[in-house]
Point group: C2
């Protein structure tokens, strides 16, 4: 018969592969917890209208959206921000800061290609209800700590900008409608200088100002010196001075957290989405041609569109696929190997139940234990113990038991030791 | 504006509620790992045809099934068994036993009512590739250990039966097509004796045999004595004797695991689904009118329907909602309270960055730490520390720092202690 396949863009992750994923997810979630983010759980399916608020009608084409049996238009969530907006709006009693994380699956109906999965994991981090630089700094510090824990902090950098700062600078140069100009700046990295200037002129910016914008948005680098350069080159503007001051405060906080060396100021970072209102940042791999690992920013005006109260917000969504690629490139992807603390080997049927008792007592001690479920020979059992990477094999045999002992074999060294039969569990627990 | 709501049958779980869920999920997964089950990850959406194999065309009506933008009929997985069958078939190289678990969401389009959610979590446990009683016993022992860890083992019992045993007994009584009769037995608990006998007669069983079936299927209770009773009452049959012997072996293994006191033999347990081929079991709450917590069994013929090789299998799906209800009834549901190890309080802006350093160093020590993100007063900060249940508040103030100390306050007792400022992190790490 025909065998079945999974859908394109969806993944089967067998246990050995999943071991490595699990380690990565655990690192991300452990960091979230240490920073005081609280885990929540929310639906994977929402009314399509919820996504229209932020993304308009296009969202229907880009997602798994369908009409359910009750006639409701529903969508497999492509992101969790609209859901979180709903959750923040429906519980006015929540004290601030509201700091949330969770890891869950998201779905997008995309052309299947490398790095564009139709089903993917994300861990969303958000701080709601606080407008301060301190919240901005905490978000960056948290993201930076993830890479520290993954031992790749030296190979990752955060490019930071502030939309309010950019807006103030543009206004200082006489640009009225800064959003259209920002969209051009967002594309700057991908186009030639000539094209860049042309596109600015197409937005009604005169040639001279376009050149000034080109020069200003070239400012990037180590934060402290970039901010000095910016102060020197910036047009006179109170708003700009204020925004530069805020960026200085951010730098000081990032230094206190010890993550300032991962951060660069880059005035050309805008991020595509219109809803960002302040800090924007993207994580890049410095020694790789990977696209941005992920990005985030402040979106103080978005939550208010989902209900009756305005709530400032800053966050990012940690995406797993690009980080997985980076870790593989750097040789830091965890081993795709299952692990087992102990295998209980039984030499004959007559000792099978004694073997089960040992297995159970070791498990009660918190160990990961397997034992013989079939009528395998001693050799086959050792082969299985090796295959599941058992650290120790507990060999239970009738002759040994009659002499009051059980043999414990270290599977790496091959060393074996006879242990009094009533001290086996304690002995193995102490070894591990 | 109108605020948004989640879909009916879907749940928002805010952090305080989720704390308790997380504890339950962690207990289930920890048990799985200790028993040597390996975690995997698989798609949440599969081709609808995959579910038709096991469940026929009805599955379309009972699930979130729709046609995607590429014209594919797809389904949000209502269970993971068909996916696992696919995974087992597509990797012929996997050595046995294949022991898998994972916790993920499932979806069913059901009439919304208590205990019937449209989106729900399940942890599936399966052992593939092993036909032995040992695998049966390990599955039950694993399920039993979950309830031991939840401190409710005394209030849960597993009703066990073996379809092959029941089949042998029915054949011994002259019943030819035992599957139809088993379907009647499956309903026995819910109908009167008269109805039961009538339904058996409607299946072509004569009155006398129907009464014998009624008597036999009344056998239930502590396994050892029930098996003695069964041996006495069973019609002469080699197949029945063999099946009774197998149940004895299972009892011995369950005793070795120490979970036999949770197990009862019950010849009326059949489980609805036709695909079970051997052991069947259901977990019940003994002091509650909750329906079965979950059930499982052996299904040796199912995997072969998904591909070219036959693979014996036994498993169960741990369902969370009924267990949650049980734990609540028994007062064993974990506290719905967020927890925090330390809050770093800063008395003035001037010490803010020193506070950030302490917070970061405590986090590097693995603690869950929050600090001040706004311009809150000392009183407001203590209020916040209390609200997030911080165990300790580290009070950083300029005057203290000038004297070389920081104050650490135990939030439960109110005791405070001045600690040399360079020993604060070590001190707090030692306290926790």
């Amino acid at each position: 018969m025909n065998e079945f396949e999974n859908l394109k863009g969806f993944y089967d992750r067998y246990p050995s592969e999943w071991v490595a994923w699990r380690e990565l997810v655990d690192t991300v979630e452990e960091t979230a917890r240490e920073f005081g983010f609280r885990e929540l759980d929310a639906p994977s399916v929402e009314p399509t209208d919820l996504f229209r608020v932020k993304s308009g009608e296009d969202i229907v084409e880009e997602t798994y959206s369908f009409v359910d049996k009750g006639g409701r238009e529903v969508t497999l969530i492509p992101e969790q921000t609209p859901t979180r907006a709903r959750l923040v709006q429906q519980r006015k009693d929540l004290g601030t800061p509201i700091k949330w994380f969770d890891t869950s699956k998201r779905w997008r109906y995309e052309a299947v290609q490398k790095g564009r999965d139709r089903e993917f994991f994300q861990t969303d981090f958000d701080i709601f209800g606080v407008e301060s630089v301190e919240a901005d700094a905490e978000i960056i510090a948290c993201a930076g700590t993830i890479f520290e824990k993954l031992d790749v902090a030296d190979s990752v950098e955060f490019k930071l900008n502030d939309r309010q700062l950019l807006d103030a600078l543009l206004r200082g140069l006489g640009v009225g409608e800064s959003k259209d100009v920002m969209r051009v700046i967002d594309k700057k990295e991908k186009i030639s200088r000539k094209e860049f200037l042309g596109k600015l002129e197409a937005e009604g910016v005169d040639r001279e100002t376009a050149e000034e914008i080109d020069e200003l948005t070239a400012i990037s680098g180590e934060m402290e010196s970039a901010l000095v350069e910016l102060s020197n080159k910036a047009p006179e503007s109170e708003a700009a001075d204020e925004a530069i001051g805020r960026m200085h405060d951010l730098y000081n906080a990032l230094s206190a957290y010890g993550v300032e060396s991962m951060c660069r100021f880059d005035l050309s970072i805008v991020r595509g989405m219109d809803y960002y209102t302040g800090l924007v940042f993207e994580a890049f791999a410095t020694e790789s041609d990977l696209r941005a690992l992920f990005g985030g920013g402040r979106y103080d005006d978005l939550i208010g569109q989902f209900g009756s109260r305005d709530v400032p917000a800053i966050g990012f969504a940690f995406g797993y696929s690009p980080t997985m690629q980076l870790l593989k490139e750097l040789g830091e992807w965890p081993d795709e190997t299952i692990s087992t603390d102990a295998y209980v080997l039984t030499i004959s049927d007559s000792v099978h139940e004694i073997g089960l008792k040992y297995a159970m007592d070791l498990r009660r001690g918190g160990l990961k234990v397997e034992t013989n479920l079939t009528d395998r020979s001693v050799g086959e059992q050792f082969g299985y113990a090796d295959r599941i990477n058992a650290k120790y094999t507990i060999v239970v045999g009738e002759r040994d038991l009659n002499e009051g002992v059980v043999t414990v074999q270290n599977m790496a060294s091959g060393d074996e030791k006879q242990i009094p039969k009533d001290q086996v569990v304690e002995h193995v627990l102490n070894l591990l």
